[in-house]
Structures are given as C-alpha cells and as structure tokens.
Amino acid sequence: MRSLRRVRPRAEPLVLLGPGLAYLLVFMVVPLGLILSYTIFQRGRFGGIVYEATAENFTRVADPLYVDVLVHSVQVAALTTVAALLLGYPTAYVIAKLPPKWKTLALIAVVLPFWTNFLIRTYAWIVLLNSQGVVNSALGDLGLIDKPLELLYTDGAVITGLLYAYLPLMILPLYSAIERLDPQLGEASANLGAGPVRTFVSVTLPLTLPGVLTGCVFVFVPSLGNFVVPELLGGGQSAMVGTLIRDQFLKARDWPFGSVLVLCVVAVLVVLLMAQAWASRRYSGEGDRA
C-alpha cells in the first residue's frame, strides 16, 4: 500500500499469498464446491452419488416438514442469541468497569469453562436437568414440586445447552467494544441532561453496536449448525437442521439431499452476514471491521 518503495520484488505477493490461498482453495473452496454440485444429483441405491441431474432435492426440501425444521432451528438459534445478549451485555459492561486486576480475573473466569471439553459440559446439563437430576431433586427437596419437571428433551434444554456453549463468544467481543468507549462521552451526555437510560440507548449502545453484532454472529452461527446439543439434550424431539444434516450424511447416506440442507444453512448465514454488515455501516458510521 505504500508506493514509496522503488523496487518491489515481484515474488513477494506470490510467496505471501500463494501457499495460504492454495491451501484454502484445495481444502475449503473445492470441498464447498463439491457440496454445491451434489445438490443436483441423486442418491444411489446403496448411498453414494448417481450423476444424473435432478431438481428433486430442491423440491423435497421445500416440503413443509423440512421448512419447519429450518425455521425451528433459526428460532432456537435466535432465542439463544437473545439470551446470550441479555446475559452477556451487562456482564461485559460490569467487567469493563472493574479495576484492572479484577478485570483480568473476570475475563479468565469467563473463558475458562470454554476450555473444558464441550461434550462434557453438555453432558453436565443432562445430569442437571434429568428427571432424577440435580435441579429436580433440589426442587423436590425444597417442596416446590411434587413430581419431576420435564426439563430435559425440550427446546429449553437445547437453548440452555447452546447458550452454555457459546456465551463466552458473546461476552468477549462485547467487552472489547465497551472497553474502548470513551468515558467522557457518557459524562458529556449526563452533563447535557440525559438520564442513564437515554445515555445508554443513544450513546453507549450505538457505539458498541459493532461489538453487539459480532457477538450475535458468533453465537447464532454455531448454534444453527450444532447437532451435538440437540442430540444429547433434545433427545431427538427437538428437530434441528444440524442433526438432520448429520443424519443425511452418516445414516441415511443421502448426500445430495444433505447437500441441499447445507446450502440452506449457508444461505441463512449469508443473509445474516449481509444484515450485520448493513447494520454495522448504518449505525456506526465508521464502516465495518471484522
């Protein structure tokens, strides 16, 4: 970007960009392209691909059954994201206002659970929410309920599991954004007569919006494609597109149909990212930074 140099070696861009781009091409672009191409073919009798073009997979996915699953998945992911935001924003705010020593400790404490294995953490919720689990036992012992609540194998359990998995991913970008806020802006707003709510809505929130959007994307995207949590905590009752995709590839061996489902998820993703970019540009005025 600096054209002050007189001699720019021609090999430099190749050496820098070549290996990385080549790798991504082979291991990401080509695989995704393959998936895209499978959408128009058919499943063979034993699984596998029969290379005869058909639109059948697309008409099949338009069936209300599958649309429902997709919509339901988006709903669950969205609810998880909202919950993460409601819990995460205040938490990030408080952390940002802590004295430095506590700040570091608080951040580590947020990230630490993230470092224990995701599967085990999800399994812990089975123990908690089971009909003989900790929560039900506690509620029963306290005399608040007389028969166990059906906590597990519900959408609520899945949302809890997803929230648990991805909450740190919401808190960290939010913290980053809030931390960068100039405290003088808040003071100025107060000096001009705005109450705390007004200051928050008109000053703090818009300025931290990029962080909010990043956090939302970081929670929504993995939640949408997750299949482990719906399987373990949803018990197959909570139909999510992630488990459906996994089943098409590993059980039903219907790769073309599975590929169409993957395409749907990617489509939702693209829409989301475009919305994020638009909102980010509109509200922060600075242009978006990833």
Partner: protein
C-alpha cells in the same frame, strides 16, 4: 450508576457458567455409580481414568493433531495476513481468508468429508490435521491482520532504504513486530483444535480417534463417572495453562 442494575446478570452469568462444572467436580469424587445418589467420597475414578487406554490414545492423537495443525496454520495464516494487508485491496480475498472461521463447523466438516471421499483419500490423523489447519489458519490470519492494522510500517521502510532485501526485512523487522499477534493467533488455533469435535468426527479414520471423539462415544452410551474425573482434570490443566499464558503474554490485551 448503570452498574447497579447490571450486577444481577453479571453474577447470574458466572453462576450459570460454573454450576454444571461444580456438579462435574463434585460427582468426580462420588463413589456411587449414578450421579443421582451420593455414595461416599472416593478418588477411584481418577485411578480408572489414568488407566484408561482409549483416553490416553485420544489425548496423544489430539495433541499430535493440534500441534501439527497449529504450526501449519500459523505459517500459512501469518503469510496470508501479511500478503493481504500489503498487496491487495480486495475485500473478497480478505473475506475468503476469514471464511473458515465464520462458516459453521458442520458445513466445513461435510465439505471435507465429500472432498476426501471424492479423491478416495485414506482417512486418519493426517486428514483431521489438514482439516484443522483450515480454520486455524483463518483465526491466525484474523488476529495478525488486526495487529497489522495498528502496526507502524516506517521501521520496514527504513530497513529497505538501508538496503536490506525483502526477505531479511520480513524476518528481522516485520515478524518480531507481529510476534504478539502471531503467538495469540497460534494459541487460539491450538485451543480450538484441542477441543474440536465436529470436523474431527467427520474426517477421522477408523483407528485413531481424538479425545473429543473418544468422549463422544463415552457420553453417547450413557453415564460414566470417569467422565467427571476427566472434566475436572481438564479444568485444572486449562486453568493452569491460561494463567501461565496470561502471565507470559498478557493475552487479554489482545482483546483491545
């Protein structure tokens, strides 16, 4: 002023994050077979854990994959980041480099499964390693690019003006300046690889499972108290590692 109201969610978050972990830790010392009754204090599950060959095998495989993919990802990602920052204005290339980090892991996993199947590759640790490098690289590139955007290029210009070649400048001037970003990115890639389940699940061969895959089989078949012991051990190890890393690199500063 605001803070008063915000404190409730703050404590709720930490309670939420640590309640299940507390359960796991407590259960790891529970002598009873099921988590729903207390059978007395014992450390026998830790003993069983130490003797469990599958877990040991999984751990070794996980470390191999994580180390290998991190090295590869760091090299490729750093080069890519510098290349994108210096030699192109294309937003497309920037997006491409970041894409693996944003794509749902399931999508990447399925794509790679299809790819390996199409080229009739034999699956094994190498296929997982290659897969992990893809997203590792994206994270390294993102972190290094952020670092680059704050970097001062005048040192490099000075180096070139004084006659140093491109390669020398890169190694002696650019890289050291980027080092905190590179280390942070590498750590991130390593961490993500260690716990990564979905991509490993789809790209693993029949023989060498990584630790998350081993755990998945254990969890799927029902309750095994050993798992609680494993969780506790992982927690302690992670805590030590994070604290150590923080001391050495002031990791949390990378969040600014």
């Amino acid at each position: 002023m605001r803070s008063r109201l915000a404190f409730a969610p703050f404590w709720l978050t930490y309670l939420f994050l640590y309640a299940p972990i507390a359960v796991l830790v407590v259960m790891s010392f529970n002598a009873a077979d099921t988590p729903y009754t207390w059978g007395g204090f014992t450390t026998s599950w830790y003993g069983e854990l130490a003797r469990d060959e599958k877990i040991r095998e999984g751990l070794v495989n996980t470390l191999i994959v994580a180390a290998g993919s991190t090295v590869l990802a760091t090299v490729l990602g750093t080069l890519l980041a510098v290349g994108i920052a210096r030699h192109t204005r294309s937003k497309a290339l920037g997006a491409l480099a970041t894409l693996p980090a944003i794509l749902p892991d399931l999508v990447l996993a399925i794509g790679l499964l299809a790819f390996y199947s199409a080229v009739k590759a034999t699956l094994g640790l190498h296929s997982i390693l290659a897969a992990h490098t893809v997203f590792g690289m994206a994270f390294v590139a993102t972190v290094v690019r952020t670092r680059l955007s704050h970097a001062d290029t005048s040192l490099e210009e000075a180096s070139r003006d004084l006659g140093a070649g491109a390669f020398t400048t890169f190694v002696r001037v650019t890289l050291p300046g980027l080092m905190p970003g590179i280390v942070a990115g590498a750590l991130l890639a390593f961490t993500l690889s260690i716990d990564e389940f979905v991509i490993a699940f789809f790209t693993a061969g029949p023989k060498d499972p990584t630790l998350p895959i081993v755990i998945y089989s254990m969890v799927r078949f029902g309750v095994t108290p050993e798992i609680n012991a494993l969780a506790t051990v992982l927690l302690v190890v992670s805590f030590t590692a994070v604290v150590a890393v923080q001391r050495v690199t002031r990791l949390t500063d990378a969040l600014r």
